[in-house]
C-alpha cells in the first residue's frame, strides 16, 4: 500500500525533508511508518502524529492511501 508521509516545522528541518512516499505491506501502525521512513532516527519525544489530518496515537493503524504527518507540539494562536 502507498502511504504519504509529511513533516512540519522543526521536525522537518531536523530530517531535512518535508515528505516521503512509502510502499508498505501488512499491518502497519503510525510508529511503523516513522521507522520505515526514518530507520536511523528516533521520533522525538512530544512529537504529534496525524492520519488524514486528524490526531492519532502512534499505535494507530494506517491504510492504503493515508497521509501520515509528524510534527512538534503546535505553537499557534
Amino acid at each position: 500500500m502507498s502511504i504519504k508521509v509529511r513533516y512540519f516545522a522543526s521536525l522537518k528541518e531536523a530530517i531535512g525533508r518535508s515528505e516521503d512516499n512509502l510502499e508498505l505491506a501488512g499491518l502497519v501502525t503510525v510508529s511503523d511508518v516513522w521507522r520505515s521512513a526514518n530507520p536511523d532516527k528516533t521520533l522525538p519525544e512530544n512529537s504529534l502524529a496525524a492520519v488524514n489530518m486528524d490526531y492519532v496515537e502512534l499505535t494507530g493503524i494506517v491504510m492504503d492511501g493515508d497521509e501520515v504527518a509528524f510534527f512538534p507540539p503546535v505553537t499557534g494562536g
Binding site: R6, F8, A9, M53, F71, P72, V74, T75, G76, G77
Partner: protein
Amino acid sequence: MGIKICTKAFDPWQEVQLYLHSAAAMAGKYGATNVFIGTMRDFNEGDQVKGMTLEHYPGMTEKQLEKIVAEAIEKWPVIDALVVHRVGDILPNEPIVLVAVWTSHRGDAFDASRYIMEALKSRAPFWKKELLGSQVERWLVKNTDGYL
C-alpha cells in the same frame, strides 16, 4: 461559522465587520460578542524579536479549527463564530489570531471564545519560528497556559 487563513497582515476590526455584513440575519438576535486578538509582541523570553514565521499544515488547520468551533457550538448556545489566523512572515504588532463569538448572553460569549482560543493553542497545527534581534532563528517549543 467562518474559518479564514490569511497569508498577509489582516485588520481584525475589519474582519469582524466584514463577517457581520455577511451575516446580516444575525442583526438584533445576539446580545453579546466576545473577541480575542493575539498580536505579535516585539519581545519574548527576554529577547528582542524582529519577526516571526508561522508555518501551518494546510487542510489540517481548517479541519481542526472547524472541529473546535463545532465543539464550542455544541457546548454553549453560540449563534455564530469566526476564527481568522495569520500564516507566513509576521512583524511585531501585527495580529496573529482573531476569535469572535456571538451569543445571546455574555457568559456564554466569554466561555466559548476562551474555549476556542485554548483549543486552537493546543490543537491547531501552526508553528512559530522567531527571528531574534541577534539574527538567531528560534522555534517556539510549546505554547504557554495563557498567563506568564
